[in-house]
């Protein structure tokens, strides 16, 4: 679809802040549009798994990207972060709307998630994640992939070419950091 996405990913990885932001915007717009499209089709599922959406996005974008299009892992790293933003925005908006929604995304298998999570809690998690991302980006990425996008340990391990055990360990570490950070913020 868009060869310059790879260019932006490349530049962003080299520390180009403007490229990183442009990438975020482009991915956000793209995912948003894809979600709309998927849900707008006749016979579309009422809710759309985030993982499905991300797979679609990857297929879509890499198709026109040529051989230099980044592999799944690198793509997913960015896209998962974007997906976090979309989910939080969506949760915030769904609270705000009385009827209908832009689109429904379920990120976990259990439907209980939909009703239970407060968007402000999500926002707090997101803020803490951003902090963690500055210290250990791979940890934040695991949380994005697992919690917000619903990938399993196995899938994440495959994408990153590491063992499942490693992914689990990263997950535990990340949880420790987030838990501590959020509790600390709460008690002033």
């Amino acid at each position: 679809m868009d060869p310059t996405i790879s260019g932006l990913i490349g530049a962003a990885e080299q520390g180009d802040v403007a490229a990183a932001n442009a990438l975020f915007s482009a991915l956000y717009a793209e995912l948003h549009r894809l979600a709309q499209r998927e849900l707008g089709r006749p016979g579309a599922a009422v809710s759309l798994g985030a993982t499905t959406l991300l797979h679609e996005a990857y297929l879509d974008m890499s198709a026109g990207g040529g051989p230099s299009f980044p592999d799944r892992a690198r793509f997913m790293g960015y896209a998962a972060r974007v997906m976090r933003g979309l989910i939080i925005d969506h949760a915030r908006e769904r609270h705000a709307q009385k009827r209908g929604g832009l689109f429904e995304i379920t990120s976990l298998d259990t439907d209980a998630m939909e009703n239970a999570v407060d968007h402000r809690e999500l926002a707090q998690i997101s803020e803490a994640l951003d902090e963690l991302g500055k210290l250990e980006p791979s940890l934040a990425e695991v949380v994005d992939l697992k919690f917000f996008c619903g990938f399993s340990f196995g899938e994440i391990a495959t994408m990153r070419h590491v063992s499942e055990r490693t992914v689990q360990r990263n997950w535990e570490k990340a949880r420790i950091y987030l838990h501590r950070k959020i509790r600390a913020d709460l008690s002033l």
Binding site: F24, H119, I176, H179, A184, S187
Partner: protein
């Protein structure tokens, strides 16, 4: 519990890796050996690992329900001397619990309200306690008492309030069927309470029915008093969050004062406004800003700009809302007519004064409002002075100069009926441009919520201006080093104000942004600053200063892809300014280039494309190039549909403009269809609420041209009524002229005359003497006289019309495109008065002018009718062959543009087929 500093985490991280890699059993041994080498580190690790066990048990981030650690207590827990019984709600800033004293002493039950710590902020503890004691001193029979305040052992701030069981005041009044006087008396209790608080320097900030309860015994109790004030952090100098959050998100701002929505500091006058809204609701059963809003952005717009309809008018029964007014009146134990009479006069005045947009014009205090209400109850004269109509109309003209200019363009008498664009369209476009701009400036704000804040949701979606401004300001504070970011953020906020028509607030920010930008080198920020400043200057009639700024901005930006968004921004602003300066060529050139830029950009998206195509189409249309405009309109509409936004405000505007272009080309059938679509979209319900009056009149005009006279009259009348309601004087004039034309064609000259009688003094008051609108007026008089058979008089008027129109056109005051129209009317009069030669001459001249202006290959109603008049005149002169030729052309044009069944089409066909002279 302290947070981990980054360097602490870095130190611990590798050890955590190791600890988590080994089993629990091995871990104990490993830890003790670590403790020997580095006790401090080991201790921290142990704490973290303990925490990990807890969170694993809790299922933190695993299960569906995400409980934040440290959330407030469950039933049975104690808070100070109270025991929590049950949760009674999710209140403004946290959960609310019913509680009673733990020692069993029989005192009243209380409501314990937990506040979300995230909102109190660091260092809020002391301030919280201080505020608590101030509020505790607010003892008043009509205020729910604040019994206690504190911070729980888990660090959760809470308030203990008197528990009130009662109904919201509006529901109470309706259920009890209280009449107007009884409601006012109850309302006076509310005012007493608020006045008491004000005298203790406490402002409520959130007065609305759900915060004013009435107990079964009829006692009024105000809730949530000054709670918002408690949550301010230090150093925010009174600028509290404007709108309460229910469950953490923004509510619709129905009781918010205009200044609250603009982010100005909240004062006692803000409470007066909210009380005004409450009084309005209690008296009428309706909201002063009206109803049926498609989005909260529209509601905000209405609150800030639209003068509320007088209470006596809104309760009066009219055709559409008879049922509603009857119900509302019944709830006040009366009928709509009687209610209207009761409210007329003093109560109208009192409510109006409480609801003034400008806080300085409102009642200076709640006590003053209460005094006037008491005087009303005692039948004494009140202190407030009523508005005069002149004052209201004058204000409208000043505030909306550009809109007025656009609307006045629509004063064309003639058959062609050239029209104006929707007044709203400019604001809607600006809001959308701002959303694009936000997308482009994601680097600066790092906040893509604005992408969702554009009119993506068709209806009911709350939107707060303040959300965006708050976010932006917080970001400015975080990023204080970097000047380019600062400039961009100032621009963001400044533009946000200008799109809300708050140029006075936006302009200083944009001037500052421009000033700052001169000393940095980043071309993107420099260009944006120039062009954003140009935009706001253009609004303020400083077009001469605006244009050079646009050029300056464009010069900064090379053609590299990274500047694509900035180029687009400058080109679109430049396009708007060129349009305002009537430099149509430049406007078109800039819009075309913007289209090119977007198409070549990596960030090209349907949304961005739509934004530029919309500008391009409108630029063509305004330049009279309807033929070029229409395919662009079609493209834009298709994009909107594929974006799923074809039932939004933007779409309605687009369809209106498109339909105008079609109408101007004389493609009436297509225009009718497209106008209808525009109306359907903007209609929120069965009534005309939400539909722009100009759109209704445009539609009436096209129906008129299709000879659907009864429908046309209906729409024109509705446009008139809606325009009256919203105080849009110039549109009222439009509607009167159009109605006159319709009534003429319905052979109802008396009604037509009444319309002209009504509009003439208005025009004389608002416009300078040589204005071409008077030519239109004269032309209408001519038609009226012709309808009555007074040909001499008609001819005199027709001559006047031509003279005025030509003079105006010659002196460059516009009206040039309307000259053929008045010539055509004169031709008709001359024909009817038995002067075929003059008729033929005028008709031929008019036809020539139309042909020059129009694109010859189109089938056009305008040309068709011109041919028809000419044909009739030629026939009257005895020039049969020429007449028939003209009639054939007429028939061809008319058949295609207004349909084969239209009387004019039939007439033309008849004329074309006859051997002998026609009538």
């Amino acid at each position: 519990m302290s947070t981990l500093k980054p360097d602490e985490w870095q130190a611990l991280s590798p050890y955590l890796d190791q600890a988590l890699a080994i089993s629990e059993d091995e871990r104990a041994a490993w830890l003790s050996s670590l403790a020997e080498q580095n006790p401090a580190l080991a201790a921290q690790l142990v704490a973290l690992l303990d925490e990990q066990r807890v969170l694993a048990q809790e299922g933190f981030l695993e299960k569906g329900r995400v409980e934040l650690p440290g959330a407030p207590g469950l039933a049975g827990q104690t808070i100070g001397p109270y025991t929590l019984l049950s949760q009674i709600g999710q209140g403004g800033m946290g959960s609310v619990w019913l509680a009673e004293r733990s020692d069993g002493r029989f005192e009243r039950r209380v409501a314990v309200k937990f506040l979300n710590i995230a909102l109190v902020g660091k260092g809020g503890e002391e301030r919280f306690k201080r505020e608590g004691s101030i509020l505790g001193r607010l003892a008043h029979e009509h205020i729910a008492e604040l019994v206690d305040a504190g911070i729980s052992v888990t660090g959760q701030p809470y308030l203990v309030l008197e528990y009130v069981e009662g109904d919201h005041i509006d529901r109470y009044c309706d259920q009890q069927r209280l009449g107007v006087d009884a409601r006012i008396r109850l309302f006076l209790d509310v005012l007493e309470a608020v006045a008491h608080a004000h005298s203790n320097l406490v402002v409520h900030r959130d007065l609305k029915p759900s915060n004013v309860l009435v107990r079964k015994d009829g006692e009024v109790k105000l809730l949530d008093f000054g709670i918002a004030k408690l949550l301010e952090g230090e150093g925010e100098d009174g600028a509290a969050t404007a709108l309460t959050a229910e469950g953490g998100h923004a509510m619709t701002p129905e009781y918010a004062a205009p200044e609250q929505l603009m982010g100005a500091p909240v004062t006692t006058a803000t409470d007066v406004y909210a009380l005004g809204v409450l009084l309005y609701v209690l008296l009428t059963g309706q909201h002063p800003a009206g109803g049926g809003f498609r989005s909260a952005a529209d509601l905000v717009e209405a609150i800030v700009h639209t003068e509320p309809t007088r209470p006596s008018d809104i309760v009066a029964p009219t055709g559409a809302n008879a049922e509603e007014t009857t119900t509302n009146a019944a709830r006040r134990t009366t009928t709509p007519d009687k209610l209207s009479r009761l409210l007329r006069g003093d109560l109208d005045t009192i409510v109006a004064k409480a609801l003034k947009k400008n806080p300085k014009e409102r009642y200076a205090s709640v006590t003053a409002l209460a005094d006037d209400l008491r005087r009303y109850l005692d039948h004494e004269p009140i202190a407030a002075r009523p508005d005069t109509i002149v004052y209201r109309a004058a204000k409208f003209v000043r505030r909306n100069r550009l809109a007025v200019a656009l609307a006045i363009l629509a004063f064309a008498a003639s058959v062609t009926g050239v029209v104006a664009t929707l007044i709203q369209s400019r604001t809607v476009r600006a809001e959308r441009d701002f959303a694009f701009q936000q997308l482009a400036l994601a680097g600066a704000t790092n906040d893509l919520n604005s992408f969702l804040l554009s009119d993506a949701a068709p209806s009911g979606k709350p939107f707060t201006v303040n959300d965006l401004l708050d976010r932006a300001q917080r970001i400015i504070e975080r990023q204080h080093g970097n000047d380019a970011s600062r400039v961009q953020l100032l621009i963001s906020i400044g533009r946000q104000y200008t799109t809300q028509d708050q140029d006075a607030k936006g302009r200083p920010l944009l001037e500052e942004a421009y000033r700052l930008s001169r000393s940095i080198s980043d071309p993107s920020a420099r260009a944006q600053a120039s062009c954003a400043l140009a935009e706001v200057l253009g609004h303020g009639d400083q077009l001469p200063r605006a244009e050079p700024l646009i050029q300056e901005g464009l010069r900064e930006l090379s053609n590299e892809p990274q500047f694509a968004m900035d180029r687009m921004f400058c080109l679109l602003r430049g396009n708007e300014i060129a349009r305002d300066s009537d430099d149509t060529g430049l406007a078109i050139a800039r819009a075309q280039e913007a289209v090119r830029v977007v198409k070549q950009s990596p960030l090209d998206s349907d949304l961005l494309e739509f934004g530029v195509l919309d500008h391009l189409a409108e630029s063509y249309r305004a330049a009279g190039k309807q033929r070029e405009a229409i395919p662009v309109f079609e493209q834009a509409a298709a994009l909107l549909a594929s974006l799923g936004r074809d039932n939004t405000e933007t779409a309605s505007t687009l369809f209106n403009n498109w339909a105008l272009a079609l109408d101007q080309l004389g493609r009436a059938v297509e225009a009718e269809r497209t106008f209808h679509q525009a109306i359907d979209i903007s209609r929120a319900d069965q009534s005309d609420r939400g539909v722009s009056p100009m759109l209704l009149i445009n539609y009436a005009r096209v129906l008129h041209s299709l000879n659907r006279l009864d429908e046309a009259a209906d729409y024109a009348e509705r446009g008139y009524a809606t325009a009256q309601k919203s105080g849009a004087g110039v549109i009222v004039n439009q509607s009167l002229l159009e109605r006159a034309r319709i009534y003429d064609d319905q052979h109802n000259p008396d009604r037509a005359a009444a319309m002209l009688a009504e509009v003439e003094p208005r025009l004389r008051r608002d416009l300078p003497p040589g204005h071409y609108a008077f030519a239109s007026l004269a032309s209408e008089h001519a038609r009226l006289q012709m309808e009555r058979g007074n040909f001499v008089s008609a001819l005199r008027y027709a001559n006047d019309a031509v003279a005025i129109m030509e003079a105006a056109a010659k002196s460059g005051k516009g009206g040039g495109q309307f000259v053929p129209g008045v010539l055509e009317v004169r031709a008709r009069v001359e024909l009817a008065a038995g002067r075929p030669d003059e008729a033929a001459a005028d008709a031929a001249r008019a036809l020539r002018m139309f042909q020059e202006a129009a694109q010859p290959v189109e089938h056009s109603r305008i040309l068709g009718l011109a041919y028809l008049i000419l044909a009739r005149a030629l026939a009257a002169q005895g020039k049969g062959d020429e007449a028939r030729a003209a009639a054939r052309s007429a028939a061809e044009h008319l058949q295609a543009s207004i349909g084969p069944d239209h009387p004019d089409t039939l007439s033309a066909q008849q004329l074309a087929g006859l051997e002998t002279q026609a009538r």
